[in-house]
Symmetry: C2
DNA sequence: GTCTATACCGAGATAGAC
DNA sequence: GTCTATCTCGGTATAGAC
């Protein structure tokens, strides 16, 4: 119980302290690259520049380390996405343009960073073996929840003809982000930025066509 | 070299012969359930009711068995989908209705059979570790290729306003099949048939709205 | 006291040898 | 079909170093 109040004191368990964070970073890197089963605790310890014993002291066992690291990373990913959404969907001036800019930034953030792809792939891969890895659809709910609120607002203003905002949000995500995700998941070939832009632009265009409000009156 | 000409003679390598098929079936079941790393050759041999030696005689090693079994299963899945597509899209009378029936049957085939979900998940999981597992987007190409042809025909007949049939096919798949896939991939909770029907119906409706041809003239 | 290093244990894996 | 060789893994224990 020496030096109470110092930073080193509140590291009951987990990633607190520089050592703990080095372990977490190394574990994340290897798990993302090799998956759960193919990653050994020895390798993690070596990658972190730490004794294996330290890994076990901090995280108990491999499974706990895996869950801890993945949950933290996933949470931070969701924070990033939330920021992007608020930036673009805070106040919408041009519907098609702002939705495109939003989806495009999300898409490029995923496409540019192979970590994101690997993270999603890893979560999907291990979901059957670690029930409760993600709090069950909490992921999609976070994303579509924000979009749903925005679409409901646009519908209220008469700028889009949407009766079920949640369903419409699902459609928007499906036509843009999920399409790129699906492309990257199967093969390993990365989607180029130009291709991502094409997909997003065309997806938002289709979305806007599907949900455009009826014209006020017959013209031409 | 006894009994030449009998079925047991032409088993150069692979799944020919009843033993080979038993091995393939057992391997598929265990790989789908447990993944590649968590499945042992011992378990496969036991499940197939054969000696482990027989497994190695037929398939060489674990990796080859995995690739062989997955490719065959994937091919057969694609054949199934092709059949469904031709059944519903051979000649389209009511666009919305026929597209819905098509997508719904595909969706229910995937939703009802957990094998399909597990297969897709397994391919995604192991894609980085077995380059060339699937011939790179050949999967999506098969599906969307068929749909593309159908949509091009409908566009030619003026029944849908489609300038890029391949892109439109991507949108249709994204709004229906891929949406259900995404739902099942993250969590493990299965999507109910009713939920699948709701998603497909709403997805096709949005698709038809996005690609409906312009009305011939102002009415009302 | 905590971290490092290393040796160690039992289990289970692939692959091959009778 | 069994049996064995060899390897790796998760996890622990034992030693010493700052």
């Amino acid at each position: 119980m020496a030096t109470p109040g110092t930073p080193t004191e509140r590291r009951a368990v987990g990633a607190a302290g520089p050592k703990g964070e080095a372990i977490a970073a190394a574990a994340l890197r290897l798990f993302l690259r090799d998956g759960y089963e193919r990653t050994s605790v020895d390798a993690i310890a070596a990658e972190a520049g730490v004794s294996k014993r330290t890994v076990y002291n901090r995280y108990g066992d491999k499974e706990n380390l895996f869950l801890s690291v993945l949950r933290d990373t996933y949470k931070s990913m969701m924070m990033t996405f939330r920021g992007i959404a608020e930036k673009h969907l805070g106040d919408v001036t041009d519907v098609r343009q702002d939705l495109t800019a939003f989806a495009l930034e999300v898409a490029l953030t995923m496409t540019t960073a192979p970590d994101r792809i690997a993270l999603v792939r890893l979560i999907m891969s291990e979901a059957p073996f670690f029930p409760g890895l993600i709090t069950a659809e909490q992921g999609a709910a976070t994303m579509t929840g924000i979009i749903t609120a925005c679409l409901a607002r646009l519908a209220g203003e008469g700028r889009l003809a949407i009766s079920d905002p949640a369903e419409a949000a699902g459609h928007l995500v499906a036509l843009t982000i999920n399409r790129i995700n699906a492309r990257t998941m199967f093969g390993v070939l990365p989607v180029s930025d130009a291709e991502a832009e094409r997909i997003v632009t065309s997806g938002v265009a289709a979305f806007v066509r599907a949900y455009r409000p009826a014209p006020p009156g017959p013209a031409a």
